[in-house]
Symmetry: C2
Subunit: 367 residues, 2 copies
């Protein structure tokens, strides 16, 4: 497991997940990562690319659904066609990241990969850069390295990383004892008081080979299929047989297939970081992010003309029509050509249930 110090680094962006709680903005045909949810003028995917470019230039691969190929290439002009891996169907994060790891590993057996979600918001990107660079160095010593974000509140919305001893020879890297799923509020408060617990931001940096070795132990059948599929990609792309194999892949999150088993074996390290990190899971989160803690702000995303006496909430519009709000606080209004959502920040999480009932009633054209 000796990694050469000159191993190249590749960022992998698994761009999947519809973002149901951001319906009707986020759709199967245009998921979360294809939207500008921060008012930056760029989509979350473009922001992700721009964050990684200073670290690894154009050594960035994107794994996304076949249906999003044209949107992704439109948004990322510097993405090499050979670094775009298309999923015939969503098979969860292990399949996506493992496919990228396997293809990149066949091109360069010593490659270190880093997986970064396409739909996170990170400010203070210099801190992100420093953390990822250290993580790459730690990974080269034969570790799967996660970036652990210092909690700013006892959140029950994120999983945690429980750390132990510092790793010798590194500025801030520490050993990881275990991954912990989203906790109760009491546990979250305990974690918040301790310095051993960090938010698991879902970023993993590891030698591709090590990643695939762990997977081969925990999910041998899946690992074998991925290896076969990676050969196909290297040979020019999926044929009919490969698509069939892809559709049959086991759906499993990377946390269960690789991160947690590797942590049990002592193979996982963590680089703590204190950059501002958001997963903007629902409209309430976007409203918070937009208002940046300042009160008296109604957040507005899009080109809508707004006439409002509301000092909180969020307005999202895909056209320039006038939106008038009177006497509604903490309101969420999302207007799209075929669907309009009106709810409040308090109920933002329930949007997913609404999408579920649309699906259940067969209104797929609205999903």
């Amino acid at each position: 497991m000796n990694m050469q110090t000159d191993a190249s680094f590749y960022a992998v962006i698994p761009a999947g997940g519809i973002g149901s709680r951001l319906w009707p903005l986020s759709r199967a045909s245009a998921p979360k990562f294809l939207h500008d949810l921060t008012g930056s003028g760029q989509t979350l995917l473009q922001d992700t690319w721009d964050r990684l470019e200073p670290i690894c230039g154009d050594n960035i691969a994107v794994v996304t659904g076949s249906t999003h190929a044209s949107h992704v290439t439109d948004q990322l002009p510097n993405l090499s066609p050979t670094n775009l891996f298309l999923e015939p169907s969503p098979r969860d994060s292990t399949a996506a990241i493992a496919l990228a790891a396997a293809v990149l590993s066949k091109r360069d057996s010593d490659v270190v990969i880093g997986s970064f979600a396409a739909d996170h918001v990170i400010h203070e990107t210099h801190k992100f850069e420093i953390a990822v660079k250290e993580a790459i160095e730690v990974a080269k010593t034969g570790k799967i390295v996660t970036i652990g974000v210092n909690p700013t509140e006892p959140s029950t919305a994120f999983g945690y990383v429980r750390t132990t001893d510092s790793l010798a020879g590194f500025d801030s890297a520490v050993q990881v004892r275990e991954f912990i799923e989203k906790p109760s509020i009491n546990k979250a408060k305990k974690y918040f008081q301790s310095s051993d617990y960090l938010w698991n931001a879902g970023m993993f940096i590891a030698p591709a080979k090590l990643f695939l070795e762990v997977l081969a132990e925990t999910e041998p059948k899946l690992a074998e299929s991925i290896d076969y599929l990676a050969e196909k990609v290297v040979a020019g792309g999926f044929d009919k047989e490969a698509v069939k194999t892809w559709h049959a892949l086991k759906k499993v999150a990377i946390d269960y297939s690789v991160a947690e088993p590797a942590a049990k074996k002592g193979l996982v390290a963590c680089v703590p970081a204190s950059f501002e990190w958001h997963d903007v899971g629902d409209f309430a989160a976007i409203a918070e992010l937009q208002s940046q803690g300042r009160s008296g702000n109604l957040a507005v995303l899009g080109k809508a003309k707004v006439l409002s006496d509301s000092s909180s909430g969020i307005l999202v519009s895909e056209n320039d029509k006038l939106i008038a709000l009177i006497g509604v606080e903490d309101i969420i209004v999302v207007d799209t050509p075929d669907a309009l959502l009106v709810t409040t920040k308090q109920h933002a999480q329930k949007v997913k249930g609404l999408v579920d009932s649309l699906r259940a009633s067969g209104q797929d054209e609205l999903l």
Copy 2:
């Protein structure tokens, strides 16, 4: 002032008023009366016509803004072109009703006219019919007759009619002592307890000649201009000079120019009635009307597909897009192609202020 008993009756529908509190549904180009606000499948104007037709057949005149001519004729196929009087600009109710009175009077000097707003909602139309028929008979004795609605609550939103003695020879007609403007809640409670006070529903039935005689005394200049303008209508329509005269007419409500002065002279009678009557002034009123006191009802006007957990409020939509509501009660959502309103029943009255600020900021295309 002896009216012949065979005098013909003509209904006049002054179809004016934008209905600012119903923005963005009601617009300068498509005011309240051109919309179906009851879910009846007909507009308020069509409902008004249908209420009057059993009383007077096609003897119905409409006074409306020139810009609404085509909408009105589209909606009222039985309206005779000679009974459509077009206002070059809005000059309040006296000008509108007096013009109709003067033209109809020149055609038939003994005509009795009845003025009925184009944007009221009346249920139990047989009671309305009986009341109007009695009012016509009372009018023929040389009275200006109003229909007084029996109050069902101590409302501060309506003016009141104070009645005194019964008129001999009629089923229910009474003499009117005075008209009272919208009262304080304390006064409204007093009126509600007394049987002498009825809601002024703004309906006036009178010999056209009597109506014009009262006007000639209270507003001689206005009456003279109206007479000149009526000659023009009879001669084929307004010329340039007439339009100029119209624009210069004094703006005054019929209550001040005719009803109140006539009451002081003892010329006003009232036929009490107990039909259900609404002036649907704002979206809260429409919501109330739609839910008919039943709880657990979200009112929906238009073709919108609705997914909602709300049990109160109103949704108005001009298209068939999906409107999803989560956790919002007493909500008002009005979606039109160029403007979206979100407010609550509690704030429904404030919509007028919003329209005022749109006007003040020069956004006339949205009015």
